[in-house]
């Protein structure tokens, strides 16, 4: 119904030829950058894993031959095995403590009604805004102040502070998704408060608790920034051990150790994917 002598709006006859080419070029650049980003994400891990199988006594690419020798070498080094056990023990402790603190706190922060709740929530996730190094240093200084030395305990405490926000936020997110009608339904069906809490409320946040545990565990296990300042110099966790190896050891054994850590990451990711889904983790 447009008047014949009114000029059509710009572009009403389809974009001009030039802009088609600009479109193609522009999106070619965008897709190329995306591809490069993908390459950047995957290549380093892939290269490390490949190198771990080389038969040469030094790091080389492409790797020569195929051997599990470096993995065997890894397990024959007592210091590495010991530090792995130390890391495992420490991570299990920090995971346990972080969850014991985080789950009730998340309940209070999501469902509680009291003045200052926003502030309380901000306080609990505050450590997330502080770099691990600063948390470690602060704990080290605090220890010096009260004559509390670097130790497994100090490391566990530091890691718990560092990881608590992740655990609280994961559980809070799940709690916010819960439908309060489900709990009312349970009560109206005659279930006690306790039964309702255990079978309906808690049961539904189990995925978040499992995911939180997996996340805190791997963060603790891999952590270097807190550990460098708080770990006992005698029983070094694996991350600190690896930090030293990376700087001073050029044997493919380091690549083998790194490959095992990558494998561990995939196991944890599988757990996360199965419990709360990877998309949720993106938030």
């Amino acid at each position: 119904m447009m008047d014949a002598d009114v000029a059509p709006a710009r572009g009403a006859r389809g974009p001009a030829l030039a802009s088609v080419w600009a479109d193609r070029l522009g999106f070619f650049v965008i897709w190329t950058l995306a591809g490069f980003a993908l390459l950047l994400l995957i290549a380093p891990s892939l290269i490390v894993v490949m190198i771990s199988f080389t038969e040469t006594a030094y790091i080389t690419f492409p790797p020569q031959g195929f051997t599990f020798e470096w993995y065997a070498d890894l397990f024959s080094r007592q210091q590495i095995v010991e530090s792995a056990v130390t890391s495992l023990r420490i991570s299990l402790w920090s995971t346990t403590i972080a969850l014991l603190l985080a789950v009730p706190a998340a309940f209070s922060l999501v469902r509680g009604r009291y003045p200052g709740k926003t502030f309380a929530g901000a306080l609990i996730v505050a450590p997330q805004m502080i770099p691990g190094m600063v948390i470690g240093v602060a704990l080290l200084f605090f220890g010096a102040y009260i004559s509390f030395r670097q130790s497994d305990l100090m490391l566990v405490l530091g890691l718990t502070v560092f990881c608590l926000p992740f655990a609280v936020r994961l559980v809070m997110a799940q709690l916010q998704l819960l439908n309060p009608a489900l709990e009312e339904a349970s009560l109206s069906l005659g279930a006690t408060k306790k039964r309702t809490f255990v079978q309906i409320t808690l049961r539904q946040i189990v995925p978040a608790i499992v995911a939180g545990a997996a996340f805190v565990f791997i963060e603790s296990f891999d952590n270097l920034t807190v550990a460098l300042f708080t770990a006992s110099p005698r029983a070094r966790p694996l991350a600190v051990e690896l930090y030293n190896l990376v700087q001073f050891d050029s044997s493919p054994m380091v690549a083998a150790l790194s490959s095992l850590e990558i494998l561990l990451a995939f196991v944890v990711m599988l757990v996360l994917g199965r419990t709360i889904g990877l998309e949720r983790l993106a938030k």
């Binding site: 802009s19 603190l101 306080l123």
Partner: protein, 296 residues
């Protein structure tokens, strides 16, 4: 247990379920942060706090030291460059995610989250291998192909540190962008195309501005991480390479001057907050449209 107990727990009506966490953080987070703060203004010898040791010496000494400003500039420029590079790569990847089908999305998520769960040292180690001397991946490939005769020096350069940081922090930029881009309202783009805009200008004038919340979140996180990272500069930058974060580590662990280390840590933390605040304010200016008008 009594009904009342479970009622209170279920409803979380009180503050008390959060109290253990508060107490824990008060003792092992707030108090240590306080000590860290006070150490920056105290004379300490051999780990012993001296009586009446309050001093502004460390603050004035540090701020009047040219070396400090040079190191600070290095931190700032490495952090900024790697953040921008991160953004340049992460945005197209997140956009690709939002335009992809289920399988591709899963692949991108797996590739983005797996490095997040891998130790930062492992990821940095990979760069030692890739950028390394004659046997490094890049050099050995180039020599093999006959393109060069002698290896490039790539390790122990600014470039190595920036590329290492970019790679290690890429997931932190990709994830918030994925969240906003995947949830965006595609009718906006259809409307833009319908009004005759080209795809490219729709991308820059509709998609990018609407994803601003994710952009601000990503820039903030990645800048904070890059600015305070001391592992990557140490491993990829070589012995002479230093940033503010590296200085903190060296003062405390190597030189054992805790007061200086504490002061540097405070300045690192303080300046980091200032930059984050600036990113946030800039973001708010750009995102004025997202503010909900409150009608009274």
């Amino acid at each position: 247990m009594t009904e009342a107990f479970w009622t209170r727990f279920r409803d979380g009506r009180g503050v008390w379920p959060a109290v253990p966490a508060f107490v824990f953080l008060a003792i092992f987070f707030i108090a240590p942060m306080g000590v860290l703060f006070s150490f920056g203004f105290t004379e300490i010898e051999r780990g012993q706090v001296q009586e009446n040791g309050f001093t502004l010496r460390y603050l004035t000494d540090t701020l009047s030291d040219d070396l400090f400003w040079w190191v600070w500039w290095k931190s700032f420029y490495i952090g900024t460059l790697s953040t921008l590079l991160c953004f340049l790569l992460a945005y197209p990847l997140a956009y690709l995610y939002s335009e992809s089908g289920r399988r591709m999305r899963l692949l991108i998520l797996v590739l983005t989250i797996s490095p997040l769960l891998t130790s930062a040292i492992v990821r940095t180690y990979a760069w030692l291998v890739i950028l390394g001397g004659r046997r490094g991946v890049i050099n050995s490939t180039l020599i093999e192909l006959g393109l060069i005769e002698r290896p490039f020096r790539m390790l122990n350069t600014d470039f190595a540190v920036i590329i290492g940081m970019t790679q290690v922090h890429l997931p932190f930029m990709v994830l918030p962008l994925i969240t906003v881009l995947a949830a965006r309202d595609r009718n906006m783009e259809a409307a833009s195309l319908g009004m005759g805009a080209s795809r490219l200008s729709t991308f820059f004038r509709i998609v990018v501005p609407l994803s601003m919340p994710g952009i601000v979140a990503g820039l903030t996180i990645v800048f904070a991480l890059s600015y305070t990272n001391f592992i990557i500069p140490q491993l990829l930058g070589g012995g002479g390479f230093t940033t503010l974060a590296v200085q903190v580590y060296e003062q405390i662990v190597v030189i054992l001057d805790w007061s200086k280390g504490a002061m540097l840590a405070l300045l690192l933390l303080g300046s980091c907050f200032v930059f984050i605040l600036m990113i946030g304010l800039a973001g708010n200016r750009v995102m004025r449209w997202s503010v909900k008008e409150t009608v009274e």
